[in-house]
Symmetry: C2
Subunit: 327 residues, 2 copies
C-alpha cells in the first residue's frame, strides 16, 4: 500500500508514475484542499481536480491544469460583461466577476456537479469518489478533510489573499509575510485518511509546495501525528531542485518565511516527520548536509519530464521506505 | 412611454415588436423574478435572460430560450457524472446535480457573472442593467424586485415545487392545487418599477402566464396598486387564444385553480387592473362576454409568429390605452 500526501501538478505527475510502478488499487492520494475556493458561487477544488484529471489522462499537457480539448465560452462571456461594466481584477473586493480565474467549459461541468452535490449535503470526499469513478480511476483520491480549511496568505502590505487570489490573480508576484490555515482547529480528517497513512507500507510526501500544498494536509488535526508515527516509512521528494522550485513559488515562499530554499532547508522543514528525503542529482553535493539534519538522503532523477522518470521515482520511494523500516 | 409587465417568451416577443413600433429608449420591461432559482450554486433568472437575449437578437429561434450557436459541454459533463453516480432527476431531493436544467456554455457566462456580482452585494436590478448594456439594449429591463420572491407550486399530491422544477423537471405535467409566492410580503419594488408604471402612457400586461408570470409581478407590494391606479391606461394581451395557451401551462393552471381558460376567464382575472383586453380574432365571438366583465375588448392578430404582428400588436395596445384615457 502506497499513500501520497499531495498538492496539485507535481503530486499528480508522481501519482501518474504510481499507476505504472505499483498496484493502482493499493494507491491512495490524500489531497490538499487549502486551495479550494468559491468562485461565481461554484465550489472549486483545484488540487483534487488536477490529480483526477491527470490520472484520467485528461489533463491539458501544455498548461498542466484543466482539461485537454477545452473551450472557454462561458468565461469569455463573463469577461465581456465585466469589460462592458468596467469590473476589473484590480477591484479591491477581489471580485471574481472580472473572470480572472479561467474556468473551461468542460471543467465547469465538474464544478457544477460538485457544487450541487455539496449543497445537497454530500461530503466532499464522497463527491470526489463519484467524480474519480466517472473518470474510471484506479487509485483512491481523498480530500484531506471534508471540513472547510482555507489557506490565507498575508502579504507584507497587509492584505489577506486566498490561495487562488495569490496564485492566479496576483500570479504569486507579491511578498508574503505569513500563511494562515483558517479552520485548521475544527477540521477533521476525511474518512479513510488516517487509516491510509497508518496502514501504508510507504507514505510519500509528494514534490509539492511544503508551505501551501503539504502544509494544509499536515495541519488537519491527527494527520501530522499519524505521519510522525510512521516516520520510518515516510519518504519526501524534494520540490526544490538546484535551489529553485520546478514550478510555482515554493522557493520564494520558503525564503520569505525565513527558510532556506534548498534541499537542506526542505530536510530541516520535514525532519520531524520524514525518514528519507529524495533529492535530484543536481543536489547530490548537499546529501551530507541533508543527512546532518537527521534525514536519510537518496539521490535520483526527480524531474518528471521524460517518460519513465515518475515510475522510477515511485519505485525509489517504495524501496527507501522498505529500507527505512529494516531493523 | 411604454411599460410592459413581462414574463418570458411571450413578453419577449411583444417587446421585440416594441423595438419597431415605439422609441426603444422610452420602453421599460418590468420582469417576473418568481421563476428565479439557484442551480449548482448559480443564480438563474430565466425570464430576465429570455427578455434580454430576445431583444439582443441572440435568442435561439428554434428553442425560444437560451442563446443561438450554443454549446452544451458543461452540462453534458454534469450528466456524465450524475449517470456514473446514479443521481437522477427523479431524486426526491430535486437534486440539480442530475443536470435536468439545460445550461448552455455561453449562457453559463451570464449566470457566472450575475452570481459573482450578486455575491459581491450588487442588486439584481444593477446586474441586469450591466448585462443589458453589454448586449447594447435600448429598452430598460427591470426585475420587478431586488428581493427574493419565489413562486412555489403545490401539487395535488402534496409536493412543493419551484417554478423550474415544475416547468422544466416535471415538464408541467403535474396537477397544481395552489400557487404560493414566497417572500411577497417582504419584497419591495426595484428602483424605477413604480415610476415606470405611474409615468407610462401605456402599461401593457404582456401575453404571459397570468398565474406564474404576471402573478409574481403584481404580488410585489405597491405594484398592483400602481397598476390599478393606472387602469384606464392598462392594456392586457390575452395569453389564451381559442381556449388554449399558445405555449406553456397557462390554460391548465387557470383551470386547476378554478378559472375559465378562455379570454372571458382572463378578462375576469384582470378586470380590477386592466381597462382593455386585446384578444385574437379566434376569440372575436367572445368580445361581448369580455366586455360584460367590465373590460373593453379589442380584437386583432395576437399570435406573434409572422413578421410585423408584434409591432402591430404594440401599436394596437398604445392606441387602446390612448382611447382608454379619452374623456
Amino acid at each position: 500500500m502506497l499513500t501520497v500526501l499531495a498538492g496539485g501538478v507535481g503530486a499528480a505527475r508522481f501519482l501518474l508514475g504510481a499507476l505504472e510502478a505499483v498496484d493502482p488499487a493499493c494507491t491512495t492520494a490524500v489531497v490538499n484542499v487549502g486551495d479550494d475556493t468559491v468562485l461565481h458561487g461554484l465550489e472549486i477544488s483545484p488540487d483534487l481536480d488536477t490529480v483526477v484529471y491527470t490520472l484520467a489522462g485528461a489533463i491539458d499537457p501544455e498548461r498542466g491544469w484543466g482539461l485537454r480539448d477545452e473551450t472557454w465560452r462561458a468565461v469569455e462571456q463573463v469577461r465581456r460583461y465585466a469589460e462592458s461594466a468596467g469590473v476589473t481584477a484590480e477591484d479591491p473586493s477581489g471580485n471574481d466577476a472580472a473572470g480572472w480565474f479561467s474556468l473551461g467549459d468542460l471543467d465547469l461541468g465538474t464544478h457544477l456537479y460538485r457544487t450541487s452535490r455539496r449543497r445537497a449535503g454530500v461530503p466532499l470526499s464522497e463527491v470526489t469518489r463519484e467524480v474519480a469513478a466517472a473518470w474510471g480511476l484506479g487509485p483512491t483520491i481523498l480530500p484531506v478533510t471534508d471540513d472547510p480549511l482555507r489557506t490565507v496568505l498575508w502579504t507584507v502590505d497587509g492584505r489577506d489573499l486566498s490561495f487562488q487570489e495569490y496564485f492566479v490573480r496576483e500570479r504569486h508576484d507579491v511578498a508574503v509575510e505569513r500563511v494562515e490555515l483558517v479552520g485548521r482547529e475544527q477540521a477533521r480528517p476525511a474518512p479513510g485518511v488516517l487509516e491510509a497513512i497508518e496502514q501504508a507500507e510507504t507514505v510519500v510526501v509528494a514534490p509539492s509546495n511544503p508551505v501551501v500544498s503539504i502544509g494544509p494536509v499536515l495541519a488537519v488535526p491527527g494527520v501530522e501525528d499519524a505521519v510522525r508515527a510512521a516516520r520510518d516509512r515516510v519518504v519526501a521528494v524534494s520540490p526544490i531542485v538546484g535551489g529553485a522550485a520546478l514550478k510555482g513559488p515554493a522557493d520564494r515562499l520558503l525564503r520569505e518565511l525565513g527558510h532556506e530554499s534548498t534541499v537542506v532547508g526542505v530536510a530541516r522543514w520535514y525532519a520531524p516527520l520524514v525518514g528519507t528525503l529524495v533529492v535530484d542529482h543536481a543536489d547530490a553535493h548537499l546529501a551530507e548536509q541533508v543527512e546532518a539534519e537527521g534525514v536519510r538522503c537518496v539521490v535520483t532523477d526527480t524531474v518528471m519530464g521524460p517518460p519513465g522518470v515518475a515510475a522510477r521515482l515511485v519505485r525509489t520511494c517504495v524501496d527507501a521506505a522498505r529500507d527505512g523500516v529494516r531493523p
